[in-house]
Symmetry: C2
Subunit: 459 residues, 2 copies
């Protein structure tokens, strides 16, 4: 692979070179790398590149292009090129392309497929969005239990060319029901006269075509397989999913989680490709909800207006206090949400988590409380901003910090678990969401403690 500099240089040369030079350049890189170069550089003339690519490499490169480039490129193809490309690309990549097209374009493209490929394409598109079926390709090699290894190897040599992977070979019964998956490794190491049946363990792990893609992620991570078979609920082998497709799904899911956690709806496309309209509307939704929630702080402050008027000094520490609650809450929420996503903790651990977070919150709160207390004490040496009752104020702020950090930590850790329990996505309890929640309650804690400590002096 290339460094950033090499990439820029190559892209540069692909932009400036003539067709002959371009042909030479494209021959020196793998299709995956070529696609990467095109995806990242805005200046490469994709059409020119595809003029010089030989057929097979063009298909492989095309499969790895971003959707918008694929779409644009297809628009420039002749009907023959279009039909060739759509028929040749592997069914899973084709589904990924088709599911993003407009209905009109999709119909046009489907009409360009051969009868067999159209049937495959339509079948795959029938699976629900985000289901495993949408990721699957029906191009796999299946063999029978009573074949010898020699027969299998001969069969692969003859019919293996179109299979998405040859790293795993599938064993089916005569009706096509999945019996086992065997790594090609086992075939390569076995004596040629052994039978397929001798290699079988019948411990096959299969995905269901109608299951959610998230399920596939979990199973891929757990089994460390490069490909997994996909069956219907009866065990009929329908296709396979390969790990490279999974990698894309994992990345997408992680991006969604991270964006949600930052308090924004997940974007449908890469940052620079999303329209300003989508960008603003995806952000505005949560921002307004949070804003409306945060308005309760103004109400809470208004409720304590009398106290504030008597002791304006209390207002000085409001930002410090509410942000400490928000920060400790978002720490806790992050840790819990990620640990749940990784399966490190489950809902049944809630009591253990709560005890841990109670102790953590208490310790962290005491720490911040002490620092806050000392800060007020120290400032008093230089200024009389805090007046004659500075010690009481210092106690108020100190105790409030303990309470607010403890409360923030507990909310931040329990809310994601509660959301999950209720069937929501725990990542919704984003850092800003927790912060907003804790802000309002933090103010109530602050003024209640102030009332207790300052009653009869300042209040």
């Amino acid at each position: 692979m290339f460094s950033e500099q090499e990439k820029e240089l190559l892209a540069e040369r692909m932009v400036t070179g003539n067709l002959y030079k371009l042909k030479h350049l494209t021959e020196s890189v793998q299709p995956e790398e070529l696609a990467e170069l095109i995806n990242e550089s805005k200046h490469i003339d994709v059409r020119k590149v595809f003029q010089v690519l030989e057929a097979e490499k063009a298909i492989k490169t095309f499969e790895n292009l971003d959707f918008d480039i694929q779409e644009e490129l297809l628009g420039t193809f002749s009907v023959e090129q279009l039909s060739h490309t759509l028929n040749q690309i592997s069914p899973d990549d084709r589904t990924a392309l088709f599911e993003k097209l407009s209905q009109e374009t999709l119909q046009k493209y489907l009409s360009l497929l051969s009868d067999e490929e159209r049937k495959t394409a339509n079948q795959l598109l029938q699976y629900p969005e985000d289901s495993i079926g949408r990721l699957m390709t029906p191009d796999f090699i299946s063999v029978k239990e009573d074949w010898t290894i020699q027969q299998v190897l001969d069969y692969i040599r003859k019919y293996g060319k179109d299979s998405e992977t040859l790293n795993v070979i599938y064993v089916t019964d005569p009706k096509g029901f999945l019996q086992d998956d065997i790594k090609v490794r086992d075939f390569l190491l076995a004596p040629l006269d052994k039978k397929v049946g001798d290699l079988m363990t019948r411990q096959v792990v299969a995905l269901y075509a109608r299951d959610d893609q998230e399920k596939a992620i979990d199973i891929f991570k757990q089994t460390n397989r490069v490909a997994l078979p996909v069956t219907d609920f009866n065990g009929l082998l329908l296709g396979i999913v390969t790990f490279d497709d999974m990698m894309d799904v994992i990345e997408e899911e992680d991006t969604e989680d991270i964006q949600k956690f930052g308090g924004t709806e997940a974007l449908s496309e890469p940052y620079l490709k999303v329209s300003l309209r989508e960008m603003v509307s995806k952000r505005a939704g949560w921002l307004i909800i949070l804003f409306l929630g945060e308005m309760l702080t103004a109400s809470a402050m208004g409720f304590f207006n009398d106290e504030l008027n008597k002791a304006v000094v209390l207002a000085l520490f409001v930002p410090l206090i509410i942000s400490s609650g928000g920060n400790s809450g978002s720490q806790a929420a992050t840790l819990i949400i990620r640990a749940m996503a990784l399966g490190e903790i489950t809902l049944s651990n809630w009591w253990r988590v709560m005890r841990r977070e109670f102790l953590s919150g208490l310790l962290l709160g005491t720490l911040l409380g002490l620092i806050g207390f000392m800060r007020i004490a120290a400032w008093t040496l230089f200024t009389d901003l805090y007046g004659p009752h500075w010690l009481l104020i210092a106690f108020t702020v100190g105790f409030t910090l303990i309470g607010v950090v403890l409360w923030g930590t507990l909310s931040g850790s329990m809310l994601p678990m509660l959301l999950k329990k209720l069937g929501f996505d725990p990542a919704v309890s984003s850092a800003p969401f927790i912060a907003t929640l804790v802000d309002v309650t933090g103010l109530i804690i602050y003024f209640s403690i102030a009332f207790l400590i300052l009653k009869g002096t300042l209040l």
Copy 2:
């Protein structure tokens, strides 16, 4: 793979069953699944399980166990078992185990290795932590350019057993320098009398052993390979890295990023396994830094103490205003940090990003400003909390929200890019970090606008 329920049931049966039943149960699952079961259930007697496992399955299962279980289990092994296990597990999994051991245990375990394995182990441990060398295994198959396909297949059958993968075969020159990597697919599809040289493209993508693991992640994602060769800077083939090891690294890196983004140092172990001491100290660091930063808000508020005393009503909106800045900032930071991590935007895009974020910030700010204005206007119908100058206050809050959201959005988007430019990890500019930064400046914006609008009336 199993559902949660099936897993619990299996684990349950493994706990209660006698040795004979246990043996039967373990035979029905793959080593990876068995390891998963053990990792997730606290109650399974690992020692008992390993008594009934046959040798090869025991090794494969061991390789997939969590470190603390591995460590505990090794402690119960006899010297023979210990020596057998340590010599048999694959070198990359062994490195992962060894790098976490105490110096004393490591020395003891090294002494139990055969001369050859000890040499390998020591070599791998010499690579820097988090370098690709630490992930690598020297168990691969390499062939020569002038061999026929038949020779290659015979060679694999004879010597392939220990190779970490047979999905990719490496071509080296007589001195061991990497010439090419060829998918086993190509060997399986080629006529048996063809030469290796006929299959070579010489477009090999290699990792450098001393490079950082993050580099390997990028290249794996870009090339969609199941394994990549690792060389020294001269091109001498040292080993290979397989995608299943990469998956673990990717997960770890993502966890670190997410935890950092939540404003905490990355934990060294899963949530429930980290000691309370580590948990608190990893969180306390950032919390204290943020707290110290947030103290500037108390200073800023103190600076505007006179204004506050004259117009206590201004204090009511402080939480609303600073949190709006923080929320919009953390939205922007999340989007930018993730987009940079995915390579969607690079530093050279900063100007485009800034223009986008300026527009987004202005639009979002205006939206919140309008809502804020209307909120104050509406409340005035029911309460005289905001006094006779409510309209001026509404304007103050409205304009402040525009400024603060714009400022939050710009800081949130530019700070991660600036940090990256300066060589820091952009994920350090976490949601809490941005929020703290924006809080202080938000107050200054607020009181400045208040001063301009309310001068001569309230102030």
